[in-house]
Symmetry: C2
Subunit: 221 residues, 2 copies
DNA sequence: ACCTGAACACCGTTCAAGT
DNA sequence: ACCTGAACACCGTTCAAGT
């Protein structure tokens, strides 16, 4: 009921912090029961999340149902509730793992100093257009609308992307306000592409390049 | 399964054509039974759709359940299935009515010849930022991901908006390719704003104006 | 023509009982 | 520590029967 101010929503998250504890949102039940054997419990937990992500990738969001997951893993529904408090917690765990991966990709793409700034942005756009990325992204953003935990994860990712792009804009020589404005436009453009592709023809990478050009080198025209 | 190339998705739809038949997707059952009394059947049908839209506006997408709707209208679940084949058809009917309204608004905002082109675009942006519009839009776009009929309706709307903006860009003096590119960027930006607001701070109308400026008058800088 | 009432399948959740 | 099996509430859908 109260707005969820989870620490993950408050800025750049260090991907390693998430990767270190690979099951940050696990059930209170499981957490309490874990101390004695640790290993088996954790493996089992990861198997659930991996299975769910596999189902998601293969058959879409509508297929992620507890009975289907249990059939896949060869257990009964009751077992699920030993590992998770409810289905929302599964979703949060899936979102955590996926966002840790994405977060690492964004960080890597933005950090390579050896390539020019504009190329870094183009790489991020290419990553977005890549099928597989946008499909999973769209699914998680859809979930975010009905689950505050997932929403917080998505917010943290958007924030990280925004800050990465903003820094790139500053590196290009724009002043603070112009950098903020242009970075915001680019992030909204990317989000719009994720949701809008299907309504309008998907831009080719040349066209994507041209649109990025509009926002990065306006004085050339 | 096959990509839905419904005629409505292929270009500008005349809003009046939609408005004339106010229940274009009604149940095959209802359509067959309507000839003798017409009036009462239609009123009842509209009451269902209105009730569902009211529920949607008041309590969000998760609250649009058949039992809740029936409670509100004071009937039993069985009654619902006399008017509709299934819940997807209700959604399609809701989407139709809402998109007819939005379509008319867009058409009106784009058509006023007396005001300058840039102002027309700014008006469309203002309509988008208006709360109420974006909330309902986000909900329908969410539904579109799991319902092909709703998806077709959303596609038709995006297409109409794109063509309106593209025409505005041509009026501003851009050549065909630049107009297409910039209009595409603006539409994706708008869609991104609908889904992304919440992740990033909502732009003020001044900021929105500045972003539009980036895409409409690049040579000024 | 329009609605009721009862049924059925399916999903999320709980929990006592097993090993 | 981890899982089974059976139960319950809830939602979508069907359909014979009422008026």
């Amino acid at each position: 009921m109260t707005p969820d101010r989870s620490p993950a929503a408050d800025g750049i998250q260090t991907p390693d912090a998430d990767a270190a504890d690979s099951s940050p949102r696990r059930s209170r039940k499981a957490a309490a029961q874990q101390r004695s054997r640790g290993r088996t419990a954790r493996l089992s937990y990861e198997a659930w999340v991996d299975g769910a992500l596999a189902l998601l990738a293969r058959e879409g969001v509508a297929a992620v149902k507890i009975p289907a997951l249990c059939r896949e893993l060869g257990v009964t529904k009751g077992s699920f509730y030993w590992h998770f408090d409810d289905v929302d917690q599964l979703m949060a765990a899936m979102a955590d793992r996926w966002s840790a991966r994405q977060s690492e990709i964004i960080r890597a793409l933005g950090a390579i100093e050896s390539i020019p700034v504009e190329q870094r942005i183009a790489n991020m756009a290419a990553n977005l257009i890549d099928q597989g990325t946008w499909a999973t992204e769209a699914t998680f953003r859809e979930w975010a609308r009905s689950d505050e935990k997932v929403a917080a994860t998505v917010r943290a990712m958007d924030q990280q992307i925004f800050e990465t792009v903003q820094k790139a804009m500053l590196d290009l020589g724009f002043d603070a306000e112009q950098a903020r404005l242009r970075a915001g436009a680019m992030v909204y453009l990317g989000i719009g592409f994720i949701h809008g592709r299907g309504s309008l023809p998907t831009p080719t990478s040349d066209e994507a390049q041209a649109i990025i050009g509009l926002l990065t080198i306006p004085m050339r025209n």
